[in-house]
Symmetry: C2
Subunit: 362 residues, 2 copies
């Protein structure tokens, strides 16, 4: 038997976690030979409910669960963890402005970033599921300067899985026979589900579908699938979000077997995307890390779609910029490697002020 790994789950008393935890515990994420210690994190008001969830986990007598601990703060909850599933977030309440939502979540993910930085295992992998996932992930990573930005991801796997499921259904093939789908950008209605490099049973997908179906039916459907689920089910996606979360983490940890998966990762400037935002790219995972698939063709339509979602992420970043600590490690690296003198987190928007901030804070 392997040694147990420590997995923290935040928002552990919420709906997504109620699906996620019992799948992790059964070995769906890291394999049925990998014991786990579950470190469940909630806000103080939800600790009673969380205890009920932990009791149900105990009631399943899962052989792989070697321990369950309950925490009302991330500095305890993240101690020694190898994996973090960051599900808990502040939902948008009625009348709340977008900026308020970003700020409320910035507070949560700043604290969690610091906690990861201080107490997590040095090779921790953290997946942000709580929305706005990409920008929360940016805040998280920037608050954990001792960890590498590539140890953080925002989840766009649900959008990716939805694309496979709906496309598979349309073409009458098993979703596992489809490869090369990419969801680019933000986990939001601006995301760009790109089928131009997709194949089904080895044959080009784009040749088999109607362009107008792709652009006016498929694309908006993927972009607004969350709302469609709420309309029918009366509740937001939970089980499918949980499944996507574990698919993401499983592939990241154990490999994607040569298949392209969409992951919200720190942009290194590939495909002309602004550096320093968490943007969803096509990735292949192996040996516990991801690689961006670099050589995909993007046509003009695609480029405009990619820009739009990039723009949204830059705006989200601008809205929380005043809350972000400087990106010291990366600024340094940029100073060494870039010739145009731009840091990776300003993306040419305002290089001077970016330097200024870096200077001022460190």
């Amino acid at each position: 038997m392997k040694q147990p790994v420590r997995i923290a789950v935040t928002g552990a008393a919420g709906n997504i976690s109620y699906s996620l935890l019992f799948k992790i515990a059964a070995g769906e994420m890291l394999g049925t030979d990998q014991p786990v210690i579950l470190q469940l994190v909630e806000i103080p008001q939800a600790m009673d409910k969380l205890r009920g969830v932990a009791m149900e986990l105990e009631d399943c007598s899962f052989p792989l669960v070697h321990g369950i601990t309950l925490h009302d703060n991330p500095f305890d909850g993240f101690k020694g963890i190898h994996y973090a599933m960051l599900v808990g977030a502040r939902p948008r309440s009625k009348g709340m402005e977008r900026a308020d939502l970003l700020e409320a979540n910035a507070a949560i993910f700043s604290e969690q970033g610091k906690a990861l930085n201080d107490v997590a295992n040095r090779d921790v992998k953290a997946l942000v599921i709580g929305n706005p996932a990409n920008t929360n992930c940016l805040i998280l990573s920037r608050n954990a300067p001792d960890l590498d930005p590539s140890q953080f991801c925002a989840m766009t796997r649900l959008d990716h899985n939805r694309s496979l499921g709906i496309l598979g259904n349309k073409l009458g093939v098993n979703p596992s026979d489809i490869d090369g789908v990419t969801v680019w950008g933000n986990h939001s209605p601006t995301m760009y589900p790109d089928l131009h490099n997709a194949t089904a049973l080895g044959e080009s997908v784009i040749d088999q579908i109607d362009e107008s179906w792709y652009k006016t039916e498929f694309t908006p459907r993927i972009q607004k699938r969350g709302a469609e689920i709420i309309e029918w089910r009366g509740l937001s996606s939970a089980a499918s979000a949980a499944q996507a979360g574990l698919d993401h983490m499983r592939d990241w940890a154990l490999g994607s077997e040569g298949k392209i998966v969409s992951m919200g990762i720190i942009s290194d400037g590939s495909y002309g995307v602004a550096k320093g935002i968490y943007y969803s790219f096509p990735c292949i995972c192996e040996f516990g890390s991801y690689q961006i698939v670099k050589d995909l063709e993007v046509n003009e339509y695609g480029q405009s779609m990619m820009k739009k979602t990039e723009q949204e992420l830059l705006e989200e970043k601008a809205a929380v910029d005043h809350l972000l600590p400087a990106d010291t490690a990366e600024s340094r690296e940029n100073l060494r490697t870039s010739t145009d003198g731009q840091t990776q987190f300003d993306n040419g928007v305002d290089a001077a002020s970016a330097y200024y901030k870096a200077d001022r804070i460190c």
Copy 2:
């Protein structure tokens, strides 16, 4: 790849199913090499919600799911099925008498029994999860005269798993290192969780625990665990019930690997339990069927506990007896095999009237 099997799930838009379906679809029940076709059954009013659930299943792009069909009645929903997970049931509403609850469910499970009889695969295995599970199972089976009573089970696996989980925690051993636990009787607070033949890492459990802890803490805790969960979580057990359902079905279909599991099955009179009720016994599963473990010692305390829960099941049966069709196949068999002239479904309570019913109806 194996041929897909057909699995019906009733109450498919409810809470237990929301945990269960996404685990079946991921291969937790029948293995990751077994494709499935999911036949989801609900009441007409819940069909929209059910559609939302099916959309989320699609959104997971599960490779094993070769089809999903939605049905508002069991005669369509049970066509050709190999497995039935019967989760849907009428809950007890405020002011409802126990007899009314039994009758409301009798109507549901009579219809479903007829449907299984008429349209299911001839080797179907049906597990009743909806409460009152044991008596619902009796009604189901009696309405499916062409199928064998051993093709039906009532779920007591949650009580079994809870016993393993809580005992493992108490002894500081992994639940998988415990064997020989039996939950006897009805899935209700009269159940008898029996640790007298249990071992942990090969050592007798009863020697390691305090008798008063066993009788005054452990036993009532298992019996009333459902209420304890509701108290903390604010909602009834769903994920743990789903896990128990799939553990039951997996072991039944693929074998329990020599381990004792508790299953609500048709009593054959073993351990002096009245024949013809669905009572939870210690079983070992192999080659797709269960065998009662026959040679366990039951002390005087155990016998009185077993009687009490048997008595409750006989009373439940008496309350629905007027709704049950005669048990023709088994009456015939009893006529052939028994010398005392008693059928297996009357248990000496009133043999004459039992015969009378059989005569009258067939």
